[in-house]
């Protein structure tokens, strides 16, 4: 049974049991956000919540949805604590009454996904990259490229630049495991050799042993999978150790540039492509408003969660236009499948594929003078 058919059946049964009574608008449309506000990687929570809040503020400034305002309710998953995430998800649903949640981090999304599925709450992930979030719940959607796509993109980029032997370093987590597996599959699928895969704990400040083993494996290129700030720390250590090989990442933030310092120069990042350009007025408006409010340019995480709120708001509008008891996770998902295309801050539109993952442009960036400079679009195909 396809995801759409399964969902149609769910909606039909719901309609039959609940009747077609008209429902009043809620006092406010609450949208949940489960972000890393504290813990080892609070940078992510800061930018994701900032992007989402900016979207909420913009929509409210334009009168909300037919006069009903949006409200972002944030729960802290402490940089990947499944326990905190599950508690937060339950509170968002049972206490706050949200019908849509924006989770972040693979571990957190995987931990909260069964709750969303059971309680019929729509989830739109803009941060985690685990392929395990794909195709397992009719309520789960992704507006971030998955690790398998990005890993394949990086494997192709490294091979195109002449690498024959690749080494990987990652945090010991669901994200790290999934990324190492995806990269190994893509790399060895091209008949090339994977010479090392080193991992460390998420809160480790000292990764000298891992970097020493990377160096000893004598790779042609390094796939650097840690998240902020360890991505920057790993690059700093590699360069201090005299490793001059190309380094590829799928995550790189201003925090990493700060940690790596001069060693960040030349690092390549293959990731979702967000750039504010004159050709895309919405992206420019968003970037300007974000900078005015938060004092820095938005990264793609901020863009993803900003966009996530707009997608949810549009779904509420569409569901309401259809009438009946429209404010539910089921009706939001139904509205999405009736038309899976939305305006995108990335440019033009985004379309959710049948597996619930929105197709996004993926590009290669190079760190030059501390800034990510666009190199080219890439594909893992």
């Amino acid at each position: 049974m396809s995801k759409r058919t399964l969902f149609a059946a769910l909606v039909l049964s719901s309609a039959l049991t609940s009747g077609a009574a008209l429902a009043a608008d809620p006092a406010v449309y609450k949208i949940g956000g489960i972000f890393a506000m504290t813990g080892a990687s609070p940078h992510y929570g800061k930018v994701m919540s900032a992007g989402a809040q900016l979207a909420v503020d913009e929509i409210n400034a334009q009168g909300g949805i037919d006069g009903v305002k949006l409200q972002l309710v944030i729960e802290d998953h402490k940089s990947g604590s499944a326990q905190a995430a599950v508690a937060g998800m339950n509170r968002l649903i049972d206490v706050e009454g949200v019908k849509a949640v924006l989770p972040s981090f693979s571990t957190v999304t995987l931990a909260t996904m069964p709750i969303g599925d059971q309680k019929k709450v729509m989830m739109i992930n803009g941060g985690g990259v685990s392929a395990q979030t794909v195709g397992t719940s009719p309520y789960m959607f992704n507006i971030r490229s998955m690790a398998s796509d990005l890993a394949a993109g990086i494997a192709h980029r490294a091979a195109e630049q002449g690498a024959k032997k690749l080494a990987q370093i990652a945090i010991k987590s669901e994200f790290g495991d999934a990324t190492i597996a995806a990269t190994t599959k893509a790399w060895e699928g091209m008949g090339l050799k994977m010479v090392a895969a080193e991992q460390f704990q998420a809160d480790a400040a000292n990764i000298d042993t891992q970097v020493a083993k990377l160096r000893a494996s004598q790779p042609d290129a390094i796939a650097n999978w840690p998240t902020t700030p360890q991505a920057g720390l790993a690059v700093k250590r590699m360069r201090e150790l005299g490793m001059k090989q190309p380094v590829y990442c799928m995550e790189w933030t201003a925090e990493d540039t700060k940690v790596a310092g001069k060693h960040a120069e030349g690092v390549e990042v293959v990731t979702d492509y967000f750039a504010a350009t004159d050709e895309n007025p919405w992206s420019k408006r968003f970037a300007d408003a974000y900078k005015a409010k938060f004092g820095e340019m938005p990264d793609f995480y901020a863009a993803n969660y900003y966009e996530g709120v707009y997608v949810i708001a549009e779904l509420i509008r569409r569901a309401k236009a259809k009438g009946g008891d429209y404010y539910s996770g089921e009706r939001l998902v139904q509205a999405l499948w009736e038309n899976p295309t939305f305006d995108s801050v990335y440019g033009k539109t985004l379309t959710f594929r049948k597996n619930g993952v929105a197709q996004k442009p993926v590009a290669v960036f190079r760190l030059e003078n501390g800034e990510q400079t666009f190199v080219k679009f890439t594909s893992g195909d």
Binding site: T38, G39, A40, P42, H43, K46, K172, A197, E198, Q199, F200, Q201, D203, A204, A205, N206, D208, T209, Q210, A212, K213, R215, A216, P229, G232, L233, E240, L241, G242, E255, K258, V259, G261
Partner: protein, 287 residues
């Protein structure tokens, strides 16, 4: 062979960092009996203070370190006088003080994030060199960690053996009641060891600031390592704490020679559990 040499060097440098942390914690815990878990955030606050003085105020790094050490010592004394001392006076059982220290840990950790922000802090004004021995490498900061551990270790040992206060601290660590009976002012000594122990942690913090940068969670790993080193080394033995700190670091580093690095923390604690089962009183047994 190159990898083995590199891992040995890594063990040495990390061991020096662990030893600094363990010495400060051992001084406090061994003398006063307070399981000062807030030692972790005190160490972190000290490092943040050094960062603020160097990066925000613009003081020369050496001056920022000196002032940061003094500030951290005062912070440690504040923890004792305002948190632990009232419990001592009221005769609270040790587990109440333990809970208080955990509470203080959480409060201070969260305060760091609120006051300094949650981003990573680094100092760009201090450049350091990288040195190679064959194919193995180390940085000037890592050399500084070893030098600091040696200097601080020798200084504390000399102080404990040769000075009047040092002898009194040893007497108090040995038997607090007896020390009180013979007229030693244990409150004053507690203040002194909290100041000394916290100051030592600031030395470690200054070097970590240069090596890895700071984040609000850095205190947990620090107090965890220090606590384990003190227990494995033998409670009350500074020498034992230092030996255990190096043991921890070498196991963490050399243990990964032929084993995937994802096992780094696991193998350390498997070895340590085995060690404690075989020698529950720690490396250095007290008479």
């Amino acid at each position: 062979m190159d990898l083995l040499i590199q891992l040995t060097l890594n063990g040495l440098f990390n061991g020096a960092h662990f030893a600094l942390l363990a010495m400060g914690f051992a001084l406090i815990f061994g003398t006063t009996g307070v399981v000062h878990f807030a030692y972790g955030p005190v160490y972190a606050v000290g490092a943040y203070a050094i960062w603020a003085l160097a990066a925000l105020v613009g003081l020369p790094f050496w001056l920022a370190v000196l002032l940061g050490i003094a500030f951290t010592a005062a912070l440690g004394v504040g923890c004792y006088l305002f948190i632990y001392r009232p419990f001592e006076i009221s005769g609270s059982p040790p587990f109440v003080v333990l809970v208080a220290s955990l509470g203080l840990f959480i409060v201070m950790k969260n305060l760091i994030g609120i006051v300094f922000g949650t981003g990573v802090k680094t100092v760009d004004s201090v450049a350091y060199d990288v040195h190679f021995v064959g194919n193995a490498f180390f940085t000037t900061v890592q050399l500084g960690q070893v030098a600091a551990a040696l200097l601080v270790g020798c200084g504390i040992a000399l102080f404990l053996r040769a000075s009047r206060y040092g002898k009194a601290i040893r007497a108090m660590a040995d038997n607090r009641e007896m020390a009180t009976v013979i007229g030693i002012d244990t409150t004053r000594l507690s203040i002194l060891v909290f100041a000394l122990g916290s100051a030592v942690s600031a030395v470690a913090g200054a070097l970590v600031l240069l090596r890895d940068g700071l984040n609000p969670n850095m205190g947990f790993g620090a107090v965890f390592v220090a606590f384990v080193a003190v227990i494995v080394g033998g409670v009350g033995s500074l020498r034992g704490a230092v030996i255990a700190a190096f043991l921890l670091a070498f196991v963490q580093s050399l243990g990964m020679w032929q084993i995937p690095t994802e096992w780094q923390n696991t193998i350390v604690f498997v070895v340590l559990f085995g060690f404690l089962l075989a020698r529950p009183s720690g490396i250095v047994r007290r008479a």
